[in-house]
Amino acid sequence: MAERQVLSTKLSILATSVDEFDCLVAETLPDLLDRATDHLRRFLRETGQWADDISHEKLALRWGYELLERFLVWGRNEVPCRPYFLLDSFIARYLSQPEPFCYHKDLLTPLGRFLDGVTARAVLSRDALMALFYHLYGFGQGQVVRILDLGPTESQRVYKNFERWRRAGWQRAMIESGMTDSELLQIEDQKRRHSEQIIAEADRLLRAVQDHYRKSEPDHFRCLTRQQWAHMFQEGYGYDYRVWHLALCRECLVVTYDLRQDGLAGIPAPRIDLQFRPLSKGRIVSFIMKYREDGNGAGRPTQRLSRTSA
């Protein structure tokens, strides 16, 4: 009874300034997270996408968290407001959009959550976007720069803070998608023992994940035709486009690799080769040295980093 009263008092608190909003949400963070999670649990239930198990609970928590993170920034522009009601309307608005979820039962497995987690992160973070080339195909920085045909300026720009991904970004992505250490070990073990099987599974899941996160909205960075890609690479424009789309679209990555195959001696065609942990720093250095060595020996295939480290 008392609890209910506390809640109704909280509900009616009005934030009249940005500072008040910040204070209020900081004080009631656990309540807000639970409230957001409740909304998402109900939504999943009503749309027949719910099961009473830990992976569904984790899913609801994760989406609740992501929406709340957005809400904390977005709400500052909406004062004066009552944060509790505002959160309700924010989530309702989000859920009323077409296809708000990438709900796929298989994405609740450790492998599914890994792919979903790194890709979801890549949509928001350029560090994670660049890291996708490594986590999905095992491509190192030098290889990505050649595949995307980035100039020194562009590669410096996209890789400038890449260390941050190794240091903190990857871990955050794993925490946010609810991956535990034992789950990571489990899929690594699976990869060692049933390589073909996990590649096939990843191939299937990746299609769903990439389709969802690319959103395929008509205006920005959509799939291009072979000719359009050829034109872009020949004329040297659209660097953001390449980085963004090719990281999130395997079909187009294969097309562009095909187009420019002759200039990509030593780089294998993009095939799924999952790397669950970030590339450690020492390996990158050894890769660069290897790459220089091979610069002269034309046609000699560079061993892929993932293979040497496996």
Partner: protein, 408 residues
Amino acid sequence: MEQDGQLSAYREHLLDALRDLPERRRGESSGSLQVFVNQECVGTVDCEGTSTTLLSVSQQQPVREVEIRTAAGLLVGSLSAQEVGMKVARFSLGTEALEVSVQNRSDGGSVRVTYRAPALLWDRVQNMAMAMVRGFGRRGTRVLPEHVSLTPAPSLLLNHAWPKLAVVAQIVLASAVVLLVVDRLTDRFGTESTVAQVAPNSEPSVIKPTILEEALARQEQRLLKLTQTQEAAVQTLKAQQREIGRLHRAVVERERMRDQLQRLTAAKEALSRDVALLEVRNRELEHGLKEQAVALAKVLLPQPPDKPTAGGGSEATLPPPIQPPQMAEVRRENPFTFWVSFQDGTSEESIEHLIHEIHGRRGPTSAGWYNVEVNLPQPQTQDGFFESLKKTKIVKAIATSLNTTPGQ
């Protein structure tokens, strides 16, 4: 039970991450920021250096929301827009400021993100300039309370102090002149009286020493007074020099600010010229795109029946063909049939899977060769298609017809 523990640990992790947000936001160097429109990245805004940068995006859908994130994905600004109308928001990132404006019309929406660095400099200089203009307009005798209350910047205070300084200096100067005049007058009167007293008298010598003593004493006094006056004059002069120095510095400062202002105005003008140019270029590109679309539509239209060849005629009437002509050809659904054989031991399931993947339709099978019909919706040539198919692990060989020797 163990699962409950796992879940609450996860919840705690997430809460920690949320509590961390303000701290992380402070720790992040901006570098370049990503702009998301309706949750899709539309580009980046460079936030390094001291210039103003701008990102402008137009699209055919209304803009529902705009998000600004750092390269690491940290959300630093978010704005949701109305169906129709305009909305503007400002986000500050440390000393820098970002302005986001959204304009939705019935036929689409546009977003403009402007980064200003270092924030406030421009505004401050502008405020100062306005105060100066008003200050001089009123001869500097009245204080401008509205500005004093607005921005208590040190340079602004200097600006108000300077008319007052002039008044002080004038008073000092005037008093110095009065002092000098007074001194001059007393001196002359004194000398005259001495001469008058000494010259006409040839009194006994007893008186003389007294007179001399008196004269000497008077002269001493006068000298003393003179030195005092001189000292005062020197002090006054020094004060004047100091005031002049300060005035001079104020004038120099004013000149400097005027220069800065002029430079900034010039930069602003250059910027608006650049923006205008960009807008022109943008319109050109849009125009070019429309022409391309028209050209493409023409190419894609079925040939009129009275034209037996698809040759030069139609091409000659086209605007400059920006897209290669073969594109139009392959853009059409391009069904064709080929034969493919698979590596030994390939399961029927994998074959089915591959055929499904290429959207193929199966025909007859003959001695290990599978007949497949496909449409190539992408502008991909048959050769290109075969090349990528050959790369598939399970494919052994491909042939366009079984009568000829297979290609591989």
